[in-house]
């Protein structure tokens, strides 16, 4: 294998991969934002069983889950311009290609996030919404003031896993010529005829990012636990059995129903590199 693996090349490739990291991060960031907003909307439509819209949302989610993301990317890349042109007469041929990548990954993330959000919302005890009704809160107030703040914490471990998976899945952007980390690795592999070294560099970046993201998400999760800002630390010890899981495996998602949903999504969904 030594003929195929050259350490010095890893050193040369690595900075070039780091240079395009912002592209990957932007895709992840924007896809995550779209995913959260649209995903919340879809989750809301489905939980409240809004007629027609909830069925459309269900088909959308099923389609996205059921088809390779490459196909979704093509549909957005070729389909959206035609759609906008023929319906609204908007010409978007001048758009930067990366916009299509944002949209495609945003829609994809939204479908997956909506399931996470749905599961997290459903994991919030009924008593919480009961209390809202009993206090005379409107539906909007119920969602904004009680459900969302609590849901975020439950969903956080899952968001973490999905985001890490998304980091890798962005590779398909290169298929339409957007150069992200995996795309750059592919290009370097093609240019040097040494693919392993380039991907190894990408692996180093992703593993590092995964570690960082895991930490960040864990921190957010802790911050959202509504126990962390204890005025007097001593008092936290009063009911430790409630606060601290007794077993050591605290890394597991706090609510299995929601947490699990996503674990599986971690499976790389790259189809057709």
């Amino acid at each position: 294998m030594s003929a195929y693996f050259n350490w010095s090349l890893v050193g040369k490739d690595f900075p070039r991969l780091v240079a395009v990291l912002p592209v990957t991060l932007m895709i992840v960031l924007i896809a995550t934002i779209i995913g959260l907003l649209l995903g919340s909307l879809i989750a809301f439509l489905r939980i409240e069983r809004i007629p027609v819209l909830s069925q459309i949302a269900a088909v959308f989610v099923s389609f996205v889950r059921g088809t390779p993301i490459l196909v979704q990317l093509y549909i957005v890349y070729y389909g959206v311009p035609i759609l906008l042109q023929s319906t609204l007469h908007i010409d978007i041929s001048g758009w930067n290609k990366v916009m299509f990548v944002y949209i495609a990954y945003g829609l994809n993330t939204a479908a997956f996030q909506s399931e996470t959000i749905r599961a997290s919302i459903q994991s919030i005890p009924r008593t919480q919404t009961d209390a809202c009704i009993a206090c005379g809160l409107t539906k909007r107030q119920t969602y904004m003031k009680v459900i969302f703040p609590q849901m975020i914490r439950v969903a956080m471990p899952s968001f973490g896993t999905t985001t890490i998976a998304l980091l890798q899945d962005t590779s398909l952007a290169f298929t339409i010529g957007v150069v992200d980390v995996v795309g750059r690795a592919r290009a370097l592999g093609a240019a040097t005829f040494h693919t392993m070294e380039a991907y190894a560099g990408a692996a180093v970046i992703f593993v590092a990012l995964s570690f960082i993201l895991e930490r960040v998400f864990a921190a957010i999760e802790r911050n959202m636990s509504f126990t962390a800002h204890t005025p007097h630390i001593a008092l936290r010890l009063k009911m430790p059995s409630l606060l601290l899981p007794r077993r050591a495996n605290t890394a597991t998602p706090t609510t299995p129903a929601a947490g699990l949903q996503i674990v599986a999504q971690n499976a790389a969904t790259v189809a057709g590199a």
Partner: protein
């Protein structure tokens, strides 16, 4: 004055409430007794529209609600005249003790932020938890949570407050605390409907005791009537443990 008529509720084929009637005068404390599964919780939930009853009317002051046909707005208005204290506390987990009391006041437009905070501080003081006001529910003991739950209900200044077994999840010392607080509130003239298994407390505090069985009101009357001269065999059975305790001790 609250007038409840013909409340019915079925879950699927199971008829849980079969036409419950009840009158509650202003400032009256009504205690509902009944064995497990008799429909007490369901009844309270229907009164607060947490569960939509299948049929029935509720008149409360100027609100006249037909549970089946009244508009969303009328129901919301009516809801804002009632408040509920839950068996399992049901505080908002993402809000501190103080916020739990203040937020609903603001959300329902009963007070602005400043007023709400002031009133919340007052109430939290009243239930003896001033020094815990910035704690989250998970950092409070059961008895403390329940007292915050009661303060939250009181803050909304409801015409009627509903209590579903407010002490059943507490240890005996905490039970004492919470019952004491309820007694104070009752003495202050609040209108309350209360489900409890604390017979002794019911005996002391109630203006009227209602015994429910299989989704109907089997009998009602003053505590003396019900505890000392129950008319129905079922009521006698149910109360036997308590009354024997009354005699034994």
């Amino acid at each position: 004055m609250m007038k409840i008529r013909g409340i019915r509720k079925a879950f699927g084929k199971q008829h849980v409430l079969n036409g419950v009637d009840m009158d509650v005068d202003d400032g009256e404390v009504v205690v509902i007794l009944g064995s497990s599964g008799s429909g007490k919780t369901t009844f309270l939930r229907c009164l607060n529209f947490l569960e939509k009853a299948d049929a029935g009317h509720i008149d409360l002051d100027d609100s006249h609600i037909d549970v089946k046909s009244s508009s969303k707005k009328d129901v919301l208005d009516y809801q804002r005249k009632t408040a509920m204290v839950f068996q399992n506390y049901a505080l908002f987990n993402n809000k501190t003790a103080l916020e739990n009391i203040a937020m609903p006041m603001i959300a329902t437009g009963k007070a602005d932020k400043a007023q709400a905070d002031r009133r919340a501080e007052e109430l939290i003081d009243k239930v003896g938890l001033s020094e815990r006001k910035d704690f989250y529910p998970s950092q409070l003991s059961g008895g403390q949570q329940q007292r915050i739950g009661i303060a939250r209900a009181l803050a909304l200044d409801p015409k009627v407050t509903l209590f579903d077994e407010p002490t059943s999840a507490l240890d005996p010392e905490l039970v004492g605390q919470v019952l004491g607080l309820l007694r104070d509130i009752a003495n202050a003239g609040a209108t309350m409907i209360l489900v409890t298994h604390e017979m002794k407390f019911a005996y002391e505090i109630a203006d009227k005791v209602v015994f429910m069985d299989k989704g109907v009101v089997l009998e009602q009357g003053t505590p003396q009537d019900i505890f000392e001269h129950p008319k129905h065999q079922r009521t006698r059975e149910f109360l036997s443990r308590f009354t024997s305790q009354l005699e034994n001790a």
